[in-house]
């Protein structure tokens, strides 16, 4: 199972990567919006986890691209510090499957990932 993590904080990347890898997933990382778009275009992922505030291309735009331009059905989890009602609703409206606000618990994250992947 391949997961793409789009996140620009390096320490966060390490923490998330470590957790997911220890659960047996294959993890790829994109550190900014452009890289994320490139990777999505190039490979197939089983799950995409993305932050919203990233350089170049924002998370919401990426979700929009995945759902409305590329018409992919891959599960999307948003992991962001933005916890206000409008943004959450926006993300779900655009097609996200789950929304986790920071600060988050890695254990909780892992369970949510599992849940979405089982559905597949």
């Amino acid at each position: 199972m391949k997961i793409l993590v789009c996140e620009d904080d390096f320490m966060m990347i390490k923490a998330i990567e470590h957790k997911l890898k220890s659960e047996g997933y294959e993890v790829e990382v994109a550190v900014d919006g452009n890289q994320a778009v490139d990777k999505i275009n190039q490979s197939n992922y089983d799950l995409i986890m993305t932050d919203l505030l990233m350089p170049f291309v924002g998370g919401l735009e990426i979700i929009n691209k995945i759902r409305n331009e590329m018409h992919l059905k891959v599960p999307i989890i948003v992991l962001s510090a933005l916890g206000n009602e409008d943004t959450i609703i926006e993300a779900f409206k655009l097609g996200a499957d789950d929304y986790i606000t920071k600060p988050f618990s890695p254990n909780e994250l892992s369970i949510r990932v599992k849940r979405l992947l089982i559905r597949r």
Partner: protein, 482 residues
């Protein structure tokens, strides 16, 4: 006769001398105050977590206004970069100021816009709005585009203010590149003061020439290769880091750069909005806003942030630079004259006693007096043996002071944001500091003088033109406004 000349000479020489002392000491004072203020900001910055602002219900709503005229080439990218700013409650309003190119079509296509039945509330009178557009695509929910008849930048901003119903608005040059957390940093002062109301904030404008830009974001900062742009780097650093910060501290700031500023919408509207009849609308609005607050006895502040938040392209050709500086001078004159009641008027506090006089004597008269000084010097040479050693000393003094001051500017830059990482860029800046007094400075003086001249003939022409008719008047106006 000889006596009269002697007295005249005495007055001129001593006058210039006193003026020079005054201007140099004020520069030094301002540099010190700027330094203190900048250090304070840097320290505050070192542990502030700006990201807490984003999700907070306390974060105020903002409209980002960006007037656009014939920006077809870059407008799509510019809008994209504005839409991806790190903030939660904001909208982006692009005002198409009757562009003659295909800007509007491009935007409509790319962002999937359609016209909406928007009722425009002309709180501030502007040129008619032809249409308001919103996107059919939810991802671009925050974007609004106004199409209106051409009226100039001030008029466009007013149209944007009319449309906005949010608490604050940011006025941006559409080709200005903003850092991601620009809004966060610029909005914080509005939240920090409890005993007085912050009505506007401004930030440092940096030179983007030769910087690498990718997708609307600066990825690498380089010193411009063009020498005219390089001179301006030094100039901007000096003006912002060693001048404006001091004024911010004194609450006497007369101008917030039109390239990037955030304003309290209510006060702007109450003060009357931007004046579309002036060429220096950014400065004029600030002065008017201040007057409004003082005349209504409301405690307020206008704050400056030394953080480099906004990057803009500066003129690389002398002709364009000349026009820009000409316009700046005319704008300054217009504002200072329009608000001449402020001059040494204690009712207006620091604005009247310090701000207005300073700008009048040093920013406006400076180039004039400098020119007179040079003229006088040439006269003296022509008339016989001048006191060479003395004049040599004086020139040396001016030059060394300039170099000294500029090197402080470079040091300030180094110790604060150090945008120029390469050592040779810093070395180049120092070289620029050494040659500026010979090349760039006389140019700016010359352009400023032309500005004075054009302002004067503009006013005289009105008188003459009254009799001739309107067709010629338009022509003169075009010439001057270019």
């Amino acid at each position: 006769m000889y006596d009269i000349i002697k007295i005249l000479v005495y007055l001129i020489e001593n006058g210039i001398f006193i003026y020079a002392i005054a201007i140099f000491s004020s520069y030094i004072l301002m540099a010190i105050m700027s330094g203190l203020e900048t250090i304070k900001y840097m320290r505050k910055n070192s542990f502030v977590d700006y990201s807490v602002i984003i999700p907070s219900p306390y974060s105020p709503s903002i409209t980002i206004l960006a007037p656009a005229y014939n920006e077809g080439n870059t407008i799509i990218e510019n809008i994209r970069s504005l839409l991806s700013i790190h903030y939660s409650d904001f909208e982006v309003v692009i005002i198409n100021d009757g562009s003659k190119d295909d800007s509007l079509e491009k935007i409509i296509t790319h962002y999937q816009l359609e016209k909406v039945d928007f009722i425009v509330n002309y709180v501030i009178p502007t040129k008619p709005v032809r249409g308001v557009y919103k996107s059919t695509n939810k991802a671009y929910k925050k974007l609004t585009v106004i199409d209106k008849e051409n009226g100039g930048k001030a008029d466009s901003l007013n149209a944007g203010v009319n449309i906005s119903n949010k608490k604050y608005f940011a006025a941006i040059d559409v080709d200005c590149i903003l850092e991601e957390d620009s809004i966060l940093k610029m909005i914080k002062p509005f939240l920090e003061n409890s005993s007085y109301r912050v009505i506007a904030t401004g930030g440092v404008v940096r030179v983007a020439n030769s910087c690498q830009v990718r997708d609307g974001k600066i990825v690498e900062v380089n010193l411009p290769t063009n020498i005219i742009a390089r001179f301006q780097v030094l100039e901007y650093t000096r003006a912002f880091l060693m001048g404006r910060m001091a004024w911010s501290r004194l609450n006497g700031l007369l101008i917030i750069s039109g390239a990037f500023g955030i304003f309290d919408r209510e006060i702007v509207v109450k003060a009357g909005g931007y004046d579309s009849k002036t060429v220096g609308e950014d400065m004029e609005l600030i002065v008017r806003m201040r007057r409004y607050m003082i005349e209504n006895e409301l405690k307020y502040r206008i704050v400056y942030i030394p953080d480099p938040l906004c990057w803009t392209e500066v003129p690389e050709k002398l002709k364009v630079l000349g026009r820009q500086r000409n316009r700046w001078m005319r704008g300054t004159m217009e504002t200072l004259l329009k608000h001449k009641t402020l001059f040494f008027n204690p009712k207006y506090g620091n604005l009247g006693m310090l701000g207005h006089p300073y700008w009048t004597f040093f920013e406006w008269f400076g180039p004039i007096i400098e020119f007179l000084g040079v003229f006088y010097f040439i006269l003296v040479i022509g008339m016989g043996n001048p006191d060479w050693p003395f004049y040599a000393l004086l020139l040396g003094f001016t030059y060394l002071f300039s170099v000294f001051y500029s090197s402080w500017a470079v040091v300030f830059e180094e110790f604060t944001f150090a945008s120029y990482r390469r050592k040779r860029d810093v070395a180049r800046l120092i070289v620029i500091a050494l040659i500026e007094p010979f090349f760039f400075h006389p140019l700016t003086v010359w352009f400023a003088l032309r500005g004075n001249f054009h302002y004067l003939i503009g006013n005289i022409s009105w008188g003459k033109m009254e009799k001739k008719g309107f067709a010629d008047k338009k022509k003169v106006k075009q010439l001057i406004k270019s």
